[in-house]
Amino acid sequence: MTALLEVRGLTKRYLGLTAVDDVSLEVEAGAVLGLIGPNGSGKSTIVDCISGFQPANAGRWLLDGHELTGLPPHRIARAGLTRTFQAVRAYDELTLLQNLCVAAQESDGVGWLQALGRGSRLRRAEAGAEARGRDLLATVGLSEYAEAPAAILSYGQRKLLAIAASMMARPRLVVLDEPVAGVNPTMIRRIEQAIHKLNTEGVTLVIVEHNVDFIMSLCRRVIVLDAGRKIAEGPPALIRSDPGVLAAYLGQTRAAQLGPGLR
């Protein structure tokens, strides 16, 4: 079985600092991969590189065999790899439904002149986007806000909207950058359920998070980063007792004192 996303030897240096050091990873179609690690371990840099927002110094990445290396962000998104942002972003003055329709408009094959002419092709495409938008709003539990401007949403609701928007163009793979950072526990449950539902509907996901419980309940495979390197990979149960991982999170001595039984 070949991987949907394949990253080989990704390296990113800022002046003297190597933020990501020769990281390779694979994501199977239909999987939910967790990417965890202490602050500054390079998680977000990996996301920024493979989504085209930061140029990488070395490495290649392919989506379903198609080379994405070096493409600008909009080309990578159109190729089927979308992402959300750590700091939530939404178009405040647009309604939720419009927020979602914008996210689909570059992938429906309707050109500029057709968009200006407002013919039947445009109407069909926009109606399709609206229907999909309403479905996704129902999935993330924001249906009642469909016609409201995004500005009135709470922080957690905006995270849900961002997740829905990242799904609009029917991407092959979605990278969620800290989907529950700074969100209250009730909302975390809702975000978890939404992600789980989207995954069962066939979306492949990579989740970058600090919240280990959240990662452990959603992912069957986890990659741990420390200081830009991959230090462990495997199912959550195994990762939890990995001495290298404990050392990265707690420091060498403390990890040795606690032993492998730590939760």
Partner: protein, 326 residues
């Protein structure tokens, strides 16, 4: 549906009223105000597309305006082109120059674009003044002939009266506003606003910011170039003062007071601010002082322009609707 119909009726009545004015009054002063409004409406509408909708602060509009003016004047006087063709050529040339200015600077950042657009406008002035063999330098090209234009149906229209130029510029202003409205009300306008509000988010959704920015710049330059071509024949002269900062200042004020990104508010501000300096003519001494006072008051009470104030009111109503997150 009803609101849309009401608006359509209001627009048709408004346009009809504008075209009826020369029949009601032959007053040259009123017609001159109308020409000024029509010209500035095209310039500020284009700037609103670039700055208000796409978020690119631009000082280049006046350059496109002047390029259109010089191109039309030279092609008509030296090559014997008709004013239609001359103004169209001026618009196309301005759009091409706009694409070059935009493409070269937008690859860096939107701040780079603001600086380059300002340098470009200043450069236009210098070229017009110093490239004497082409532009005749500071003297400019005076005594532009009374143009005549072929109309569909084999008629010839000789633009000899002030009312003729009123019809020409007002007619083009209506066409230009319709073109701008067509873009901003379509999903192209939606993408432009998305780029203005949050460029990385737009990129992550497959939107290519550069192509939308270039579209906005090229369309605004095309319209500014054409109106520049018409306007210099109304003045009967084109000289380096066509690149004067006065035009930039006036259209910026119109967009900012009207509210960047609000089509109707900017159009209304263009009308009010075209007439305001003349309405204040009852006191010659204090005229510009009062004009300044009105601008300051507008900025104090409508910091986001009139359009921004209307949008904030709408947003506040939503916040109070009970749907808002607690």
């Amino acid at each position: 549906m009803t609101a849309g119909w009401l608006r359509a009726v209001a627009v048709v009545l408004g346009v009809a009223a504008l075209f009826a004015i020369p029949r009601v009054t032959g007053n040259e002063y009123v017609l001159a105000l109308g020409v000024s409004f029509a010209t500035f409406a095209v310039l500020s509408g284009g700037l609103n597309l670039v700055y208000g909708y796409t978020g690119l602060l631009s000082f280049a509009q006046v350059g496109f305006f002047g390029i259109g003016g010089y191109t039309a004047a030279l092609l008509v006087t030296e090559r014997g082109w008709s004013l239609w063709a001359g103004a169209a050529a001026g618009g196309v040339l301005a759009a091409l120059v706009g694409l070059v200015v935009g493409y070269s600077s937008l690859r860096l950042s939107r701040h780079a674009f603001a600086i380059v657009s300002l340098s470009f406008a200043l450069l236009c002035l210098i070229v017009a003044r110093d490239w004497v063999s082409l532009t005749r330098g500071a003297m400019g090209i005076p005594g532009l002939p009374i143009p005549s234009m072929d109309l569909p149906g084999g008629l010839r229209w000789r633009l000899a009266q002030p009312a003729d130029f009123y019809y020409l510029l007002m007619g083009f202003a209506v066409v230009a506003q319709a073109a701008i409205y067509l873009v901003v009300s379509s999903r192209l306008g939606r993408a432009m606003r998305a780029i203005k509000w949050n460029e990385p988010l737009a990129q992550s959704q497959g939107i290519n910011p550069l192509s939308y920015k270039l579209l906005a710049i090229a369309l605004s330059a095309l319209l500014a170039g054409i109106v520049g071509g018409f306007f210099v024949f109304y003045l009967t002269i084109v000289d380096p003062s066509i690149f004067d900062f006065y035009y930039t200042e006036t259209m910026l004020i119109m967009v900012i007071i009207g509210g960047p990104g609000s089509f109707w508010s900017v159009l209304a501000a263009s009308a009010v601010l075209s007439a305001l300096p003349d309405l204040l003519r009852f006191t010659t001494d204090l005229r510009m002082v009062l004009y300044g006072a009105v601008l300051i008051a507008a900025m104090l009470f409508f910091p986001g322009g009139v359009g921004g104030w209307l949008r904030r009111r709408r947003m506040r109503r939503w916040r109070r609707s009970g749907l808002a997150a607690r």
